[in-house]
Symmetry: C2
């Protein structure tokens, strides 16, 4: 019954083909031959790699976990071969620049491969993800000699990168970073500070690790405006040409609920040599290249893991027999109405998330390659990003939990992968900007900062596509868009009442999510095709639409409830 | 900031005092002196025991887990002393009969103690819970000589009991149990079969384990009507008076997401000697005594663990500083609107769940002790039970997850208890009748079987109490009750359309939950008092009410959506 990763690849491919911008990027890059056949070959190979090489290390890595011994971090034994295979096959460099050894494919192809890989083993993706995102930062902000030194090694998977932002007292509040960077008279920088929550901050899979680190130089302004971005290698060559430790000290690894194969490190920097990247005091905005890439990565992970869990539940429910007339053989549990309801809810959610993901990935490619250079296009992308990050992260936890419910006792055991997806995914709505932070981002930076223009661009884009569809089908999506618009108009008047607006920010984000997914669901329901794959996507879209406006009504109310609803808080706090 | 278990006991006590039936049970049992002072002393001692003795074994037991060695199950090392202390202090026998050595206190007192203990360490409660519930079965259905042999040992904590219902092919579908019981010519029974999911099916904390087991005798009718209930000891005395193994073979323990301190056993029975309990073929209905007790136990665990997580989040958010004007020191994160919203949602939910729990526990005591013998009273109890079981189980998972969200990265680590509560609690909405099964129970047995009389009894009881309260305050609760009544009336007409009704059964259960908790929330908001404790409860009730009718409207629609919404299912299954 389990259709495996090949089926997964087919679904992804259909989604890509359904994105209106796909022909544009395909035709803009004729040398890459991004037609259906090439995509099928690439995704088929990625599916094969995921299923045969990454699935087996997922549970083994979870059970063995990482160790911190003699000041170094050791990853699970089974990761060594897998890393070697992954990097020698180039699966870590799908969209890395060809001139440094990468495959040079668009982002959406990398996203498709990542979705398959993350379903199979999210933990090892915590190494490829930041390295790939950091490579983009180096491409954009590093000096040519740093690029020439680092990029070929990174693309080859011989070296890796981390993101070092958080400190003990600076998590969501990045502006309070204390790490210091000091320049000597020769212009060379040294960094001192303590960083936390650094994935693969130390490990044994590569020869050298570079930390992309935010620090403050003497005299820098307070807050985020005083942060600069550095590349801090864990090793440097001494004057004799030997590799020596560069004052980068792994302090410990966290004991976590999940992601046991991904070492989450506390890192000390003790006067470590560093390269300044880009301009001083522009660290945070430069880092945003990487942060945005990481947010898309979280969305990708979320879709992959959610789908894995949905498929496990669908497959189990078709095989597990319970209930029905006691005088006859039991029926498959997917015959029961409540089980069908649960499975449809999962499948509907997964497919609209996936549709949103590829819409977003293709959009970014269209911008990168100059196919869509208009501001409206870019605005829609910016609108979608926090929504996709937050909603896919939440789904990646909730859908495995829903799958466990279908599996019953079996789902609670390690015989099935759902419990590991649940544990691994719980981090996703916290890391790379929590759901609450994404909601504030949507409110402050997307809605307020440009006076609703970003939202207007989204609504315009969605409505244009919906106009081409039968009114009946489009109706629920249009209703939700109307609600969103109404709420946004009110919130635009609440800039001086930011606490009122912030009370409802997560509800606003969720409402915006329903508006996006309504649009996507109509696309699936109307254009997915009438073969097996198309019928699944269409059914998922229709199911999603059947449910959407009632939920949106509740969120409309919650988004505008205002801070008066918090009046009880101090009674709870002091009660 | 963390107020600890003494504060927890104070909150419980206030809830008990607010239950309208409490004076009735207090006055009916004058010899027990169940006034405020006695309760305070008992709950204070239980809180002290939970905090000092059970909290320390919770993480240690989780980390070490249980082992299956040489055919026997070994519990975590730290459990030995804790079990000795727990049983010698009588905390396992709070409401066990005094004539067999128990404390003879009412169920609601035991519930209060269990709530404290389960917050501290749910895993070891998986031993006391079934033993206590099974004791009730023996009291009701065992022969006097079996009672005299078993009850003093069980109450003393020297022996224990399990529930053996599930088999590989008989989970929710109890009627498909295959285990066979055969009677020899002397009238002695022997049981053969394989059981699964037996908590503490084998372990090293007691000297003898009795399994309360459902099996089928030759010629018994198919389905649940052919099941008989047996007590199957793991050891019996041979003719020389020595203890020998009784054909009860632990097969393995499950590797689970959580509850690592509670061994979940697969058990083999190979011609094991057994005592028939009660009447042949009446096994399931007799077992319901135990099942009902276990469902209340799950609700109790759920409230305890949810509260623990809520308190961890409240405490962390008061101490953790992030954000605010970057030129000034950071503010506590509980200053942020979105964090306050999250904390209020948790606290509101915990307190209405707790109010429901003690309403239910006191009701059962009133019935047991003959204070409330009318049918209406019993109907309300039966109405509340599946609702309490399902809703507290869901909360026990969702509130720790919400707490992790407030704690951020810290919550994802083992430094804080939230991740363990999350893992331990995930079983609760599966075991003892999943949420889906509770919803079918509510629909078939509570609503349909007696033509809505049970619901009418609930509505009547709730409305009577709400009449005494200011109309403004009661209004949202009354609206939700009206919705529930409307939905129920329609569902009563759907008996011939059971698939339509079952599609919305979980939504109906959730709507019924909002109706119950609306009633309870009004009680808290209007009568909790004006001291520190009372102000928390009142604030929680008001917050809950602020939100309730919009949610109910959505559930009203979902409950009546009908099975047409499932039409897409086969496209998903075959897509």
């Amino acid at each position: 019954m389990d259709r495996g990763y090949g089926y997964h690849a087919e679904l992804i491919q259909r989604h890509i083909e359904l994105v209106p911008g796909y022909p544009g990027i395909r035709d803009a890059l004729p040398e890459l031959d991004l037609g259906e056949e090439t995509l099928r070959a690439i995704l088929g190979a990625a599916a094969e790699f995921a299923e045969s090489r990454l699935v087996p290390i997922n549970r083994a890595g979870d059970l063995q976990g990482c160790r911190f011994e003699a000041g170094r971090v050791l990853t699970p034994d089974c990761y060594k071969n897998a890393w070697e295979e992954l990097t020698s096959a180039g699966w870590n460099s799908v969209d890395q620049p060809a001139n440094f050894g990468g495959q040079g494919l668009p982002l959406f192809v990398n996203t498709a491969c990542r979705e398959l890989f993350d379903r199979a083993c999210m933990a090892i993706g915590m190494l490829t993800g930041p390295t790939r995102a950091g490579t983009q930062v180096l491409l954009q902000f590093a000096d040519p000699q740093v690029q020439d030194e680092w990029l070929p090694q990174l693309v080859a998977g011989k070296w890796s990168l981390t993101i070092c932002i958080s400190e003990a007292d600076a998590g969501s509040d990045v502006g309070r970073i204390h790490s210091q960077a000091v320049q000597n008279s020769e212009g060379r920088w040294r960094v001192t500070g303590e960083k936390m929550w650094t994935s693969f901050g130390d490990h044994d899979l590569v020869e050298r690790i570079g930390h992309l680190l935010l620090a403050r130089s003497p005299g820098a302004p307070p807050g985020t405006a005083g942060l600069s971005l550095f590349l801090v290698p864990n090793k440097v060559k001494n004057s004799s040409g030997e590799w020596v430790v560069n004052g980068v000290i792994p302090r410990r690894i966290e004991e976590k609920l999940g992601l046991h194969g991904s070492p989450t490190c506390a890192m000390g920097f003790e006067g470590a040599e560093a390269y300044l990247l880009g301009r001083q005091h522009r660290g945070l905005s430069q880092m945003f290249v990487m942060i945005q890439s990481m947010r898309l990565m979280v969305a990708t992970e979320g879709v992959g893991m959610s789908f894995g869990a949905e498929q496990a539940a669908l497959s189990y429910a078709a095989e597990r027999k319970q209930g029905g007339d006691p005088s006859r053989p039991p029926v498959a549990i997917n015959d029961h109405a409540d089980i069908q309801r649960q499975l449809l809810a999962m499948a509907g959610r997964v497919e609209v998330l996936r549709g949103m993901l590829y819409e977003l990935a293709v959009r970014i490619d269209l911008e990168r390659h100059g196919v869509a250079a208009d501001e409206r296009h870019a605005r829609v992308t910016q609108w979608l990003l926090p929504i996709a990050k937050a909603s896919c992260a939440e789904a990646a936890f909730e859908i495995p939990s829903a799958a466990i419910q279908v599996l019953g006792g079996a789902g609670y055991t390690r015989e099935w992968p759902c419990e590991q997806w649940l544990r691994d995914a719980r981090m996703m709505s916290i890391a790379e900007g929590s759901t609450g932070i994404q909601a504030l981002d949507l409110l402050h930076r997307r809605l307020w900062r440009d006076d609703g223009e970003t939202l207007a661009a989204f609504i315009d884009t969605a409505r244009k596509e919906l106009q081409g569809v039968s009114a009946d089908l489009a109706a629920p999506a249009l209703l939700v868009i109307d609600r969103l618009k109404r709420v946004a108009q009110q919130l635009l008047g609440w800039r001086e009442r930011s606490r009122d607006a912030e009370t409802g920010a997560v509800a606003f984000l969720q409402l915006a999510f329903l508006a996006v997914t309504g649009w996507i669901a109509v696309r699936l329901a109307s254009r997915a095709g009438n073969d097996r794959i198309g019928r699944r996507l269409a059914a998922a879209g229709r199911y999603w639409l059947s449910d959407i406006d009632g939920r949106a009504a509740l969120l409309e109310r919650d988004a505008l409830a205002g801070s008066a609803k918090l009046d009880q808080f101090h009674q709870i706090l002091n009660g």
